[in-house]
């Protein structure tokens, strides 16, 4: 067997059924051997989308996504996608071809030091020097990517290593890394302290972060909240865990969150942060958060605890383990009064609706759209105003919510939606895009057609980079510059070019019918929303 075959066999051993990638000279040996396997390769139209698709794939399949590119420009094109995954702790295996071992460092055609370039946003990286190391490396890489704080792992393989013949395939059964032993079980003393703290608290609140989804601990956290009647809020990355009909769910926090959720955090005397970074967008002044409350921070990554806010009770561990332990305590608390008080803060949407019939109100659109979808659907947002509209008007009835929260990468939605659909064909995938972001990713419509996928695409078209415009309005005295997109392309023609159904929603009057059309259309389609070019999210920047 040659190195490429060892690689294919190793991926099979990890139960990989799909890889997202783009060929090139250095990685050709791999695709050559892949024809002998059942693993399905998805040919993207730009390498960055391979990483985004693997990212979306993980979000619905809960299995590590794999993306593959060639050396040099192929590898560097992946970087933005790797960084996007890293910022949201999404496990990926990134395989890049490399020039021949003997030529590394000689600035050969299509050579790039991809390991050096990616150092600060991979969890770990390998440069394989001997083909016989491939199985062990793949085994380790999957283990590292998917345990502890998840993240992308890069494997760079020179082409001569892929072509090196004469190896037997032996896949290791276990991984033994002396430098990597993530702490999963929370310290029992610290866990007891949480219970003690709750016995003293009058108004505790839980902040659910993306870590709850990543550790698949939704059930444990929600049952803890229910057991003691502890209200909870969500960060952007935690959206979807709390459902709107749960009286304990107060809403999303942060500068795009609801006023009452932020108020709830401020008034709480004990804040349990579960799998969140206390990041700048979620908590405006993280260092002040401990001022009038006890901060309990539970995270699998010890370096995250105390980075942005110093907790009174730090707990390092996997959320699933920690909350299972917490649920074992017989102590019973009840914070009904506090929950009732918080529920009086909640505001209705009455009066928020725009009366104009010249345009589509994007807030109302997201509200109406998400009101009608449940756990059969997943919303995938892009970055910009569409992301803000989506997260702050999302009605949580069980639908999944996928977004690039940490890195804020434009052009994420369409490829992530493709990955999400491939990850779970039973889900209805709805991709929300701005006209700016969509133009970064629309070449991927071709992949969508090739894979024969059914994805509902929404484009909020305000013919401008709306978020930039809003920022210039807020911070640069309305000096609008460099944000006009000129009204091109005509998305109807784009839809026709890719043989997709298309509809334009001109005004609020048509909204309900258009949503019906979107959700019920057969196959992929594009719904273009005619959004006022002066529409603002009114986010709190």
């Amino acid at each position: 067997m040659n190195g490429a075959e060892l690689l294919v066999k190793s991926l099979e051993k990890e139960n990989v059924d799909t890889v997202f990638g783009y060929p090139g000279v250095s990685i050709c040996p791999f695709f050559d051997k892949l024809t002998e396997s059942d693993i399905h390769p998805v040919l993207v139209r730009h390498e960055v989308n391979a990483a985004h698709e693997a990212n979306g794939f993980y979000r619905t399949r809960k299995k590590v996504g794999v993306c593959i590119s060639s050396s040099g420009p192929g590898a560097t094109n992946l970087i933005t996608g790797i960084a996007t995954a890293f910022a949201d702790s999404i496990p990926l295996i990134v395989i890049t071809g490399q020039v021949k071992s003997e030529h590394i460092g000689s600035d050969l055609f299509q050579e790039a030091d991809i390991i050096g370039a990616c150092e600060s946003f991979v969890k770990y990286s390998y440069l394989i020097k001997n083909a016989s190391d491939i199985p062990k490396t793949v085994k380790e890489a999957f283990y590292i990517a998917s345990t502890g704080r998840k993240g992308p792992v890069l494997i760079d393989i020179p082409v001569d290593v892929l072509l090196d013949e004469g190896h037997d395939f032996n896949y290791p059964d276990s991984v033994n890394l002396r430098t990597y032993k993530p702490t999963l079980k929370g310290h029992s003393v610290q866990i007891k302290k949480i219970i003690n703290e709750l016995s003293k608290s009058k108004s505790p609140i839980i902040m659910i972060g993306g870590g709850v989804k990543l550790s698949e601990s939704e059930e444990e956290v929600l049952s803890f909240s229910k057991k003691h009647n502890i209200p909870f809020v969500s960060t952007l990355m935690g959206l979807g865990v709390g459902k709107d009909d749960n009286p304990l769910y107060i809403g999303m926090v942060g500068n795009n969150g609801s006023k009452f959720a932020n108020k709830a955090i401020n008034e709480a005397d004990c804040l349990i942060v579960a799998g969140a970074r206390v990041a700048d967008r979620a908590v405006k002044q993280p260092d002040l958060i401990t001022k009038n409350k006890t901060l309990i921070h539970i995270d699998v990554d010890p370096a995250e605890i105390g980075k942005n806010a110093g907790p009174n009770i730090p707990v390092v561990g996997d959320l699933k383990e920690v909350f299972s332990e917490l649920n074992k305590f017989e102590d019973q608390f009840d914070f009904t009064d506090w929950v009732n008080r918080l529920n009086t803060y909640k505001m209705t949407r009455e009066g928020l609706r725009e009366s104009t019939d010249l345009y589509v109100d994007p807030k109302e659109f997201v509200y109406l759209l998400t009101q009608g979808i449940k756990d059969e659907s997943v919303i995938v947002t892009d970055v910009g105003q569409n992301q803000i509209y989506a997260c702050s008007n999302f009605v949580s009835k069980g639908a999944g919510f996928v977004t690039s929260g940490g890195f804020g990468c434009m052009g994420f939605s369409l490829p992530a939606a493709i990955g999400a659909k491939i990850g779970n064909k039973n889900k209805r995938i709805i991709s929300l895009n701005g006209d700016g972001a969509f133009q970064m990713s629309m070449a991927e419509l071709s992949t969508l057609k090739q894979e024969n996928l059914d994805i509902k695409i929404v484009i909020f078209n305000n013919k401008a980079l709306g978020m930039i415009k809003e920022y210039q309005h807020l911070k640069y005295n309305n000096n609008y510059t460099f944000n006009e997109l000129n009204g091109f392309p005509h998305f109807e023609d784009i839809a026709r070019a890719y043989e997709l159904d298309y509809k334009e929603c001109h005004s609020n009057k048509e909204m309900k019918n258009c949503i019906k059309w979107l959700l019920n259309s057969k196959g992929s389609c594009i719904l273009e929303l005619n959004v006022d070019r002066d529409a603002f999210t009114s986010m709190n920047m």
Binding site: I144, T179, A303
Partner: protein
Amino acid sequence: MKRIFSVSVENRFGVLSKVSSLFARRGYNIESLTVGETHDPTISNMTIVSSGSPHDLEQIEKQLNKKLDVIKVRTFKEEESISREVILVKIKYSAANRSEIIEISQITKAEIVDTTDSNMILLLCDTPDRVDKFIDMIRKFSIIELSRTGTLAMKKCK
């Protein structure tokens, strides 16, 4: 605040760059860094001297521990450590200042390890602050080349 990090790492290709890039990426200061193989050829030891706020120093330790090639991080203050540095300095001398240089070497216990009729190389192994003082003393001579190793440190026996 100054802090010494003695870091055991996998003795592998690229590890030095991974560790040093962590400092660059997060804006931490490196005052000195020395690295070498230990008695176990699979392990290297890095001694990194850094300074910063207590929050920064805590983060450095956590981020170092997070690196997958890092086996163990020991951290201690300067006064809790035995630390040494080696310095080599090449000086141009003349008949007029030769005896003064020799005198300084004797006082500081520096060794003259190489000489020609116009140049000599002095070697000193001492604590970092005494190496600083030594440099101050020889600064007035014509220094051709100066090289110091950076701090090598170990926590004192208890």
